[in-house]
Symmetry: C2
Amino acid sequence: MMIADEAFPVEPWHVRETKLCLDLLPQSESLFALSNGHIGMRGNLDEGEPFGLPGTYLNGFYENRPLPYAEAGFGYPEEGQSVVDVTNGKLIRLLVEDEPFDVRYGDLIAHERVLDLRAGTLRRTAEWCSPAGKHVRIESTRLVSLAQRGLAAIEYVVEALDEDVRVTVQSELVANEDQPAPSDDPRVAALLVKPLEPVEHEVSERGASLMHRTRASGLMMATAMDHLVEAPGRFQLSGDAGDDWARTTVVCALKPGEKLRIVKYITYGWSSLRSRPALHDQAAAAIAAARFTGWDGLLDSQRAYLDEFWDCADVEVDGDPDCQQAVRFGLFHVLQASARAERRAIPGKGLTGTGYDGHAFWDTEGFVLPVLTYTAPGSAADALRWRASTLDMARDRARELGLKGACFPWRTIHGEECSGYWPAGTAAFHVNADIALAFERYRVVTGDQSLERECGLNVLVETARMWMSLGHHDRHGRWRIDGVTGPDEYTAVVRDNVFTNLMAAENLRIAAEACGRNPDDAADLGAGNEEIAAWRDAADAVHIPYDEELGVHPQCEGFTTLREWDFTESNDYPLLMHEPYFRLYSSQVVKQTDLVLAMHWQSHAFTDEQKARNVDYYERRTTRDSSLSACTQAVMCAEVGHLELAHDYAYEAALIDLRDLHRNTSDGVHVASLAGSWTALVQGFGGLRDDEKMLSLDPHLPPGITRMRFRLRWRNFGVVVDVDHDTVTYTLRDGPEGELTIRHAGQDLHLDTQKPTEVAVRPRHPLLPPPQQPPGRAPFRRSRV
Amino acid sequence: MMIADEAFPVEPWHVRETKLCLDLLPQSESLFALSNGHIGMRGNLDEGEPFGLPGTYLNGFYENRPLPYAEAGFGYPEEGQSVVDVTNGKLIRLLVEDEPFDVRYGDLIAHERVLDLRAGTLRRTAEWCSPAGKHVRIESTRLVSLAQRGLAAIEYVVEALDEDVRVTVQSELVANEDQPAPSDDPRVAALLVKPLEPVEHEVSERGASLMHRTRASGLMMATAMDHLVEAPGRFQLSGDAGDDWARTTVVCALKPGEKLRIVKYITYGWSSLRSRPALHDQAAAAIAAARFTGWDGLLDSQRAYLDEFWDCADVEVDGDPDCQQAVRFGLFHVLQASARAERRAIPGKGLTGTGYDGHAFWDTEGFVLPVLTYTAPGSAADALRWRASTLDMARDRARELGLKGACFPWRTIHGEECSGYWPAGTAAFHVNADIALAFERYRVVTGDQSLERECGLNVLVETARMWMSLGHHDRHGRWRIDGVTGPDEYTAVVRDNVFTNLMAAENLRIAAEACGRNPDDAADLGAGNEEIAAWRDAADAVHIPYDEELGVHPQCEGFTTLREWDFTESNDYPLLMHEPYFRLYSSQVVKQTDLVLAMHWQSHAFTDEQKARNVDYYERRTTRDSSLSACTQAVMCAEVGHLELAHDYAYEAALIDLRDLHRNTSDGVHVASLAGSWTALVQGFGGLRDDEKMLSLDPHLPPGITRMRFRLRWRNFGVVVDVDHDTVTYTLRDGPEGELTIRHAGQDLHLDTQKPTEVAVRPRHPLLPPPQQPPGRAPFRRSRV
């Protein structure tokens, strides 16, 4: 069921659900998920049911499972990793007299949930009349602390409305929750049945703790809960626990207008190394810290963390309230996925669901880190440190594949390759260049050279070596890469994918330059002058196919002479669920931007005319069956002057989950696409580029946006860009005294900390009229108009 | 363990094992397997152990199993089929006094096994002294009847040698035998555990019967045994049976020189449709028929069947006794795989082992039928009828894949696609053209037009439609086929594979001509003039890439500019077990002839110079990791004048199993390569071609063969070709009075039934010197010299 426009009223800083729609529970659980990148809790109802997908996740906590093959091949990964739904600590059951509070029974008079993007909380208000006619109001506020990473907390308040009632609250920890039946969709997670093995359980004075471990991956986790109870009169508190559950029960009587208030603190600790007592103590310490901070303290620190984030990251969009809300929602989830990930991966769904088994992909470096680098550079650095920490596994994988250097996995939680279909996994070598370029972007944008010395150089050198062993010079001296898959997964195992070739060449150049900056470290890595010269030679000789007849770049050798896809037939989307691979691979049908993405990320390698012609060509052939497409289409359509079309794509990227556009928000939000809502606005309408290592901007707004204001961090400067249809105002609001030279609309522009700089918007004149998309594949908003 | 040269002494009509080598049991069980194409029995020892792989197979008797995928895709087959080791009827245990006869105990004084290629029997003689010192001789002769297809028989004779002994013979039927542990090699069968469910068991006067069924595939089978016992004095006969076993026990006392002789008849019946009583009766009827024929009658009819076969098929090779033996061994197994297959498949391993799960591939039409069409055309017709009988399944598969017409499976037992790796399965569409051309070859060679009317036309029309929907005209009007895999499995999902394109074009032309011959039937199939004209247009416009710079054909678009494989590094073969696919696919490394096979099968499409240059190019890059390569290399090396090299390849094709050259003869013999021993000699040194629908010959012998004589059936003529280094003598030995025009060395030659025609051999002058193969990959014989 798609989410209708009216489901969540448009408000700038909130996502509000005014009426509980049980059909949309799977999706709203993802939208209302709370996370700090370390712990994630789906927006399940406090009382646990009904549910779409119950879920609590810990970053890096997974179980191994065998990857089966009908016909195995050399180098196929034998073991996969799946995120585990860990012990549910958000469960609070309520009994009104003897009647369990359940929204499916009795009379739900009012029900509202509000995700507050500034407070960092999920607030729920319900007014319920039990089947026996007892009338209560429930208010719960949930947070996963951004300030204290091992901690979540819930304030739960019950109020008697019309008459005296006895209320019983059971606050629980439950491990090994039942999961809904699995689906045929390969993008959904593999089902794990009771993945947690009990280790110990313990009841404490005001709470309890459970400890479990996974069977195959050997990870141990501790969960603890503790409670603060405020009741108008006498109340009774008791505890109980078993292998897979623990319960704290509070019973009291309320008169009309009286409230029972419970604050529940939930802490998690997990490790592959630490002992049972150490983990036990870790959870207990987090509880003690929580009690010390207190509920109000947690709320305050949560808001403070977010205030700082928004101050760096906010994008103000006048004239388009939907986009305004959506980009903030997107940035909020990007922050939630990354804030405290701290040397663990940022999964494709964050910690909001089990889609893609909880794996991290190239999405992280390709789509999420560009945003974080400008808005929360510390989190970007931590994500890069995580990648670097998996370098030894990447070296092993390269060796297994007969390659030199290091080969990072297409999908993983812990670092090992977990992809079970090599043409769209192992063969997508571009992930290595995506990673390398993310290190370089971090260095260029922040000006921080230390990360390169700390761990980046290793990654750059080892990925460069991988590319050298993967590519080859042909008899005409051209450097080519064959048998690889680019970003577009509807064309695989191809020759000379333009995106891959450009990115690989850039990876080689960056590595060479980094060795030049760090000659001693480079020497320690054995990267001598001859080797580095070979990198530069290959990069300079890289083959970029071009179709002279059509005047466009084929996304790979020969692409433009493949069969055209028959879009006039009624097609079911996503095509991958309805068409065999051989058919997709041999046709000019594109799942997601590939050549167009190359023009975004390697902008300097294309002329304006090439960009215009290529956008026109690929727009007509792109199905956008991947969620990693709309934001790039927004950016490139904006660049070539199709501003309204770009606006539609921006809208689609931003609304992907709020409208469930890909029909799988139930498995978790699309973090990369949500990050892409920032990208669409800031890189699309703001014209931000950095591939030439300059801060380059070229703002121009579509008719539907009257004014846009966004913030960036560039080196030590805080830059504010304020643009309307005529004028751009650049302000250096903090940073060292002095000047910053940027590029505005292709020309150098000197900004000064003393005063804002006002310049005229460069108007766009598209070379070609706006292109058609395949029938039915126009972006979301256009089809509404 | 490879089989040493001395293991089987070279004899023209026998394969003799003079000493039992337990390490070679897995291989010798395959070599000594007996089959009639309907029933197959591995050459397991009578007493059942030791064994390498116990095996009795029924053609078309299989179990389904799920095909698992780590990441599933649209159109992936969900169910596989695996040949079942059915009830073992060849088991005869002997006890000498109380000591079980077991070659691993006591003293095995002599042990010989002889596969007699004219008698069609496996004879075994053993002289054994039990641990207790009792001395006996055992002689067993086993046959699977070519004349009575549901029947096998064993004559088992025990003789006391030095002193009185009491002997007990237990003749058994055993279902659900234990299997050895599975292997990692993807070419080995999936393990089925106890696949047979008992239905009934029954003890009869002199034997017993068992009935079982498979769980998932729903096939039922009946096995019965019956015995004739001859003893010098009193003997006792008793029977017993359980769910999975039945036993007939004979006990008697023998004085020195006295013999106990038992003839065991074993019959099998199986069906997916017939009832339990019907199958029961079928097995009983076969037993009655066996008793009526008697042992001597079975031996006589076996020899008569083989006499007729050899009279049509024999190839006499003077000067190379190894080749002589090997080509007869090869033809014998080809006959065994196909003689009575009768509208069931001819699996890649025949009925000699579980390799490749018992599946049939393109091997049948591509490698086996060319031999059968000239030597046993009735069996060829039956094999084609089997394919045609699966047409509805092929139509369903095409529909599933979004194609028109019919798409035959890459691998199957029953007709459904069972390939679990699409780039080397579904994408290998050439199987459809291989099938179509086999129909046409049958028509051209035999002159029999009825099979085309009966079922061939349907296949031709539906495969033509498949090709039309798979290929497309590019913007220059060239007809191209993209995203397919040719014969070489080290290059997959490519553009314009020359082999596939030529074969598809030929498929289209053949279908068009067949419609012209059968206009009414064509109209019934809806094949109108417009459609047929489109087939001809596509065939005429087919794109055949050519590398002008190198003067060779790339096996697919761009192949000759791929990276060269580094053969100087130490490589482990077969490469597919040691290298990831992406590496193989993106390099100029060839598993098996592909472009070279195109030059064999579509000889007329290449000039002599192209052939010479292409052979030279691909010889240097072919690993021969497939058993479907050496025979084609023999043929094409012979054609371009590398006669000694061709001889080596012929030898390798023929000796593949007798020397276990691919280290997997234990899983069954390589029927296609064994057929290829005929192809290497007759098409290689005989120069036989028929792709221009003429009988075309061009004999020329390598130095190591002094004279070769072979027989062919062409239309109604029996043609004998007798060639030495100077002269060819063509004799029409039967057939209608009159003339037959053939092509000799490119010139028309009129043969007359009245007298032989003698012509001079056309000498070969190779354009280029003999090519090198990759290091270590020179053909078998050369490396010995």
